[in-house]
């Protein structure tokens, strides 16, 4: 038996089928919304990614030298790959561009996890699209979760541009420490640093309240009353209004002290959580600043969902084959022709070529197939009831249903 390296795992059986189901279903939705597939390289040059990620995130990259002697990292972030590709492969007039992907990302794990790799599925919308960009991206995320029957999920929205505005006037190093504490969730440290920071009373009161400005969309109005210039919250308010009009008001939470750790976000940011277990399903946000870093102007937003988490929370699954078709005593061409007919009817099946009739039926039972069919005798067996009937009857009746 091959032993996997620590932090890596092989996934097979029903778990793999579910992963594949979630991956395919998500890509199908993205495709219907005009997102085109993108398959990035698994290696990235260190020089291309290092200064575009936050320090804490960059430190988790897995570095290695390519056989050509180039210092690389295993792809730690799909957005960076997508943006780098678009910046050099498309003209301005070809935007906006909608990309989707389903691929792996690699990074050093954060306890208590120890996985080095994660399967992600996501989208990137890059280019000038006006105020609809964020609404499109978040509603598509919610739509994807709905399609995967993960309706008991919530999207928590914050806004990096609001955070930046709120810390205006505070010395840069202090603001960095305060934002760092918010990101880590160490509110006691945040509070202590704030107490030692010189600022006017109104700003102090607002910043003191920032970690607790969480809840439904009414939090935005609450925060507006505390601000000298509430207009900074208007884009977030409009975004929430749009999502509420789509019927998502119960699935949206606002957290004005929310900061994502990737380091390149500059507008609305969001995480999706299971409402049942509160586990993180994925997230994303607006990253116009990252475009500037690669020499592009415009707006960009996207999200990535962890496919393994989706599979764990998704109650649907890909239908397993219904029927095992035993062709052990038949001409292979006859078996394959019958199989082709089943495929055309959209019925999933598995072919069995063994000469051992009993063994074939036993395997079908172990795999929990409903029917076992003997092509030579033209008989089928319902493995749940033991009833035997003509294959034609199975074909006409049960399978056509």
């Amino acid at each position: 038996m091959n032993k996997n390296p620590k932090g890596c795992s092989n996934i097979g059986g029903p778990a793999a089928a579910k992963l594949e189901y979630c991956r395919n279903k998500a890509l199908k939705i993205f495709s219907a919304y005009g997102y085109r597939p993108f398959s990035p390289s698994e290696f990235q040059l260190i020089e291309d990614v290092w200064d575009k990620l936050s320090k804490s995130r960059a430190r988790r990259l897995i570095a290695l030298n390519s056989p050509f002697g180039e210092p690389c990292v295993l792809r730690g972030d799909l957005t960076l790959s997508a943006v780098a590709y678009l910046s050099s492969h498309y003209d301005d007039n070809e935007r906006p561009l909608r990309l989707c992907y389903a691929d792996r990302v690699f990074s050093a794990p954060v306890p208590p996890r120890n996985n080095l790799e994660e399967n992600q599925v996501g989208i990137e919308l890059i280019g000038w699209e006006g105020s609809g960009t964020d609404a499109e991206v978040i509603s598509l995320l919610l739509r994807t979760l709905d399609e995967l029957s993960i309706e008991r999920s919530t999207v928590v929205i914050g806004d990096m541009s609001v955070v930046t505005k709120l810390f205006e006037g505070i010395p840069e190093d202090r603001a960095e420490q305060l934002i760092g504490a918010l990101q880590e969730g160490t509110y006691t440290t945040y509070s202590r640093i704030l107490d030692d920071t010189e600022t006017d009373e109104r700003q102090r009161k607002l910043l003191k309240a920032l970690p607790s400005l969480k809840g439904d969309c009414s939090v935005i109005s609450e925060a507006m009353l505390m601000m000298d210039d509430p207009s900074v919250l208007m884009p977030l308010k409009k975004l929430c209004d749009s999502l509420c009009k789509l019927g998502y008001s119960n699935r949206i939470r606002i957290d004005l002290g929310f900061i994502r750790d990737l380091g390149y976000y500059s507008g609305p940011i969001f995480n999706a959580y299971s409402s049942v277990t509160a586990s993180l399903l994925g997230g994303g946000g607006r990253y116009d600043g990252l475009l500037t870093k690669v020499g592009m102007d415009g707006e960009a937003s996207g999200f990535a969902l962890n496919i393994k988490e989706l599979a764990e929370h998704c109650t649907d699954g890909s239908p397993s084959p219904k029927i095992m078709l035993w062709c052990g005593c038949s001409d292979p061409a006859e078996g394959l022709r019958y199989a082709d007919g089943l495929y055309k009817k959209g019925i999933s099946f598995e072919l069995s070529w063994t000469a051992d009739r009993e063994g074939s039926m036993k395997t079908a039972g172990l795999r929990k197939y409903r029917f076992w069919a003997d092509l030579s005798s033209k008989k089928a067996t319902d493995l749940m009831t033991g009833q035997v009937f003509d294959l034609a009857e199975l074909d006409r009746g049960v399978l056509s249903c």
């Binding site: 306890p111 208590p112 969480k214 939470r253 959580y273 277990t277 586990s279």
Partner: protein, 215 residues
């Protein structure tokens, strides 16, 4: 219903005091016997080994928890630290013999390769690492003070409350590295999804803690 994860052992009494002071129901908790899950009013208390408390919150079994920041930091699990209760105060410190203490007065070169006995391997590595010192860690689960006496380590890295155990074993506190106390914690996801239902409880605990500090 809000679920709290609480540490068993000597911190539990402090936790009960905090919860009671904040007006939460704790009668059943005070007499929990062998029960590790205690339901009381609209609260559920999960009692677990102190080092398991962060995982209870991270995996969503509990919405809130009270645990020492030493335990949280050692677990490496990222949780939201809502409040320092100020209870269970002690310090994280390096302790050793007088001879080893001398080494700490010199430059850090003399500390390279120091053998450190501790149950806080992660924090020890980070702390010494931040001084540019690489150490050899001897991971023990208790009675850490024994290690220098048996020649297993040069010094220990542990929490110190009164310092009596340290002294009783012929050691002295060489360097205090971080304050430790019981903190009110929540999971990153829970705090965002259930803040409105947590808020009242967090506020009540904060008011009690502030009041106790003033008194």
């Amino acid at each position: 219903m809000l679920t709290f994860a609480l540490p068993t052992g000597r911190s539990l009494q402090d936790c009960i005091e905090i919860l009671e002071g904040a007006g939460l129901p704790v009668n059943n908790l005070k007499n929990h016997g062998r029960n590790l899950i205690v339901d009381e009013g609209s609260f559920r208390y999960l009692l677990s080994k102190p080092s398991d408390v962060p995982a209870m919150v991270h995996y969503g079994a509990a919405d809130l928890a009270i645990a020492g920041n030493d335990v949280v930091e050692e677990s490496g699990i990222s949780l939201v630290e809502l409040l320092d209760t100020g209870h269970g105060k002690c310090v994280m410190a390096v302790a050793g013999t007088r001879a080893i203490a001398e080494k700490f007065n010199g430059n850090t070169c003399s500390l390279m390769g120091l053998k450190v006995a501790t149950k806080y391997a992660r924090i020890a590595e980070n702390t010494f690492g931040s001084w540019g010192v690489q150490i050899k860690i001897l991971r023990l689960n208790g009675s850490v003070e024994l290690a220098p006496a048996l020649g297993l380590s040069d010094c220990i890295f542990d929490i110190v409350q009164t310092g009596n155990t340290i002294k009783a074993n012929g050691l002295m506190v060489i360097k205090e590295t971080a304050p430790v106390s019981l903190r009110l914690l929540a999971g990153q996801g829970s705090v965002r999804l259930r803040w409105r239902s947590m808020f009242g409880v967090v506020n009540a605990i904060e008011n009690y803690v502030k009041g106790a500090a003033c008194a």
